[in-house]
């Protein structure tokens, strides 16, 4: 019973991490790169219109970072629950 409980906590924490990271996944690609592109294009950084930059560059960098954050969070979580044999 105790181990069932441990597994439940592990799974709930995992779901929380996944939800938060997918929220950022959505914001940086679909919102910044598509929905709010025209608005963001008023601004420019390093010669790029901002919305265009998110669509063709920025979102991809964010994707890579999100996966590595997840790797780190889950490795720590595995260790905490002793699932890291």
């Amino acid at each position: 019973m105790k181990s069932k409980n441990k597994e439940n906590i592990y799974w709930k924490t995992n779901i929380k991490y996944v939800s938060i990271l997918l929220f950022f996944w959505f914001v940086f690609s679909f919102l910044f790169g598509i929905v709010f592109k025209d608005f963001l294009n008023q601004f420019s950084i390093a010669g790029f219109k901002l919305g265009f930059w998110f669509a063709q560059q920025g979102s991809i960098y964010v994707f890579v970072i999100l996966i590595f954050i997840y790797v780190k969070l889950m490795n720590d979580l595995d260790k905490k629950h002793g699932f890291n044999r």
Binding site: A55, I60, V71, G82, N84
Partner: protein, 557 residues
């Protein structure tokens, strides 16, 4: 040394390496054949996944497509990378924990039904065959353009190479050749990109050079210049959208979800040692893919600027050497309609120039006057990209037949040795079929490859995600969802791409969404149908819920 001798040398060396790896990695068991024995390290799998994923289309065509589409090209850039976030967070670790050999394995076991397994096999074969035909064609095209052999001879050479390492080494041979192929293709893509970035902007990093000021003393920003040039010629501003944002949204999502649902990508995560390696190698794979995917839009912008500046409104008699050379291959066509001797490249009926999108990568080194060895490198890179993807797809096809159909459904008593022989024989036939389609490409291949993502999005993705995250989902729900999803996708594709069911044009699109983006709608339909049907049918058995509990937790392997 001539381009051709350089090409023979560089392509020859890479092929020798691939064959060497094949001989070194001969396999003796089905586990080695299907999943490389489950002993691949995170870095090796990351590199192999990146090569597996980046096809002839990514290497040869994508920068060109973006070059002509401008902002709209973002659907491919985001769509074909964002899917890895879904893979890493929602699929890869759990499928690794499940620990079988194929995607239909998971669907069949999780939904306790051979019917579900068969639906999955059908979807896997449909997706993989449409995809692989395009790869073999890509091999033939690269051979014919750079080595001046016949396209068909090129396809046959490519078939023999893939046959050698896929049949001998299975997944193990494929994995380690893909590692080598990643190195070849990324080097071949980056070298010309860096050279051109330095030439045009003085910045050696293409990702930054792309936003920089031009090197011609005008201190105008490259993208501003490109926007102006485009507008002058009657095209849309380069950094603005031509498709509707709704459609762009739908296509991006369909490509992302489709990427995460492609069986040849998913099976790569069955090959790693442990669950944490599955997550890590998804991150490494995307990082390695991102190197090419963030460079491609820069190459696109450089190439378009270069093209417009050297060609547009210039006298035909003064065009550079490369123009004539690529004219011979039919990839560039000039037709002097108004007989003024100038090349009028405009976005209306007065246009006199046709430029194939593949030119942007294939001819880029020549346009920028780079040395011959760089041009040869591009040929080797294109071949590496096409061969690595073809091999991954062929393995999915052979495993679907020998494992999912023969071992799991038709003849479960088959011995280990018998199954391995069956796997090799089906790999052999799959290569032959792929080669046949490479030599006689059905006209619909190009249209269907893009739609393979819609098919994967509307069938596998919902079934797998609910299989992991929604314990209550039962076999009736999953089967109904997959059938409705894939039928709806096929229907929409046939209606708007092939004029079946009364046809229609873009004004008839549902919700203004093109067939490329329709995977999003079909996927939503899959989810909804699954959940509705589940509520009216018998609950998931207890033992299945235990399987799901087990795959959610890493250890206990």
């Amino acid at each position: 040394m001539s381009i051709q001798s350089w090409t023979y040398i560089i392509v020859g060396i890479t092929f020798a390496v691939y064959i060497g790896i094949a001989i070194w990695s001969r396999v003796k068991s089905t586990k080695e054949f299907y999943v490389a024995g489950g002993g691949v390290g995170a870095w090796a799998n990351g590199m192999a996944t990146a090569a597996d994923w980046m096809s002839a289309a990514s290497f040869i065509s994508m920068a060109g497509i973006i070059s002509f589409a401008g902002y709209d090209g973002a659907v491919y850039l985001m769509g074909w990378t964002g899917g890895y976030v879904l893979l890493a967070l929602l699929l890869a670790p759990y499928l690794r924990k499940f620990g079988k050999f194929t995607v239909p394995d998971f669907i069949g076991d999780r939904y306790y039904s051979n019917n579900a397994r068969l639906v999955a096999v059908f979807c896997a074969l449909l997706v993989s065959f449409t995809y692989v035909a395009g790869q073999m064609r890509g091999v033939g095209i690269v051979f014919s353009r750079f080595l001046e052999v016949d396209i068909n001879t090129g396809v046959i050479i490519g078939m023999l190479i893939v046959l050698f390492y896929a049949v001998l080494g299975g997944m193990k041979g494929i994995t380690y050749t893909q590692v080598a192929q990643y190195c070849v293709l990324i080097f071949a893509f980056m070298v010309p990109a860096i050279f051109i970035s330095i030439q045009m902007t003085g910045n050696p990093i293409p990702q930054l050079g792309f936003g920089d000021q031009l090197n011609d003393g005008s201190s105008v920003y490259l993208l501003d210049k490109l926007d102006n040039l485009n507008v002058e010629l009657g095209f849309n501003e380069y950094t603005e959208n031509t498709k509707s944002l709704v459609d762009i949204f739908a296509i991006t999502l369909a490509l992302m979800v489709g990427t995460a649902g492609l069986p040849h990508v998913i099976v790569r995560f069955f090959t790693v040692k442990k669950v944490s390696d599955a997550r890590k190698s998804a991150g490494i794979a995307l990082m390695l893919i991102a190197i090419l995917y963030t460079t491609a839009p820069a190459v696109a912008a450089f190439a378009r600027t270069n093209l417009l500046e050297t060609i547009s409104n210039k006298p035909y008699v003064e065009v550079p050497q490369w123009f004539k050379k690529w004219e011979d291959t039919g990839l560039i066509r000039f037709d002097d309609i108004n007989n003024d001797g100038l090349i009028n490249y405009v976005n209306n009926e007065k246009n006199e120039l046709y430029v194939d999108r593949d030119i942007m990568v294939l001819a880029n080194p020549e346009i920028a006057n780079l040395p011959n060895w760089v041009i040869a490198l591009v040929a080797a890179g294109g071949l590496a990209a096409a061969l690595s993807t073809a091999a991954g797809l062929l393995l999915v096809i052979s495993a679907s037949v020998s494992h999912d159909l023969i071992k799991r459904v038709i003849y479960p008593e088959i011995s280990e040795k018998g199954e391995l022989a069956a796997a090799r024989i089906s790999a052999f036939f799959a290569v032959c079929v792929a080669g046949y389609f490479g030599i006689n490409p059905p006209g619909f291949v190009a249209a269907v490859v893009a739609l393979a993502f819609g098919l994967a999005a509307s069938s596998f993705f919902p079934a797998i995600v609910m299989g992991i995250f929604y314990k209550r989902m039962n076999k009736e729900g999953a089967i109904a969802g997959m059938l409705v999803g894939i039928s709806l996708m096929l229907f929409y594709m046939l209606k708007f791409k092939f004029d079946f069911f009364g046809g229609g044009d873009s004004s008839d699109y549902w919700f203004g969404i093109s067939p490329e983006g329709f995977g999003t709608i079909a996927m939503a339909a899959n989810f909804i149908v699954s959940i509705v049907v589940m509520n009216f049918t018998s609950p998931t058995p207890y033992r299945i819920k235990e399987i799901v509990d087990n795959i959610r937790i890493p250890e206990n392997e």
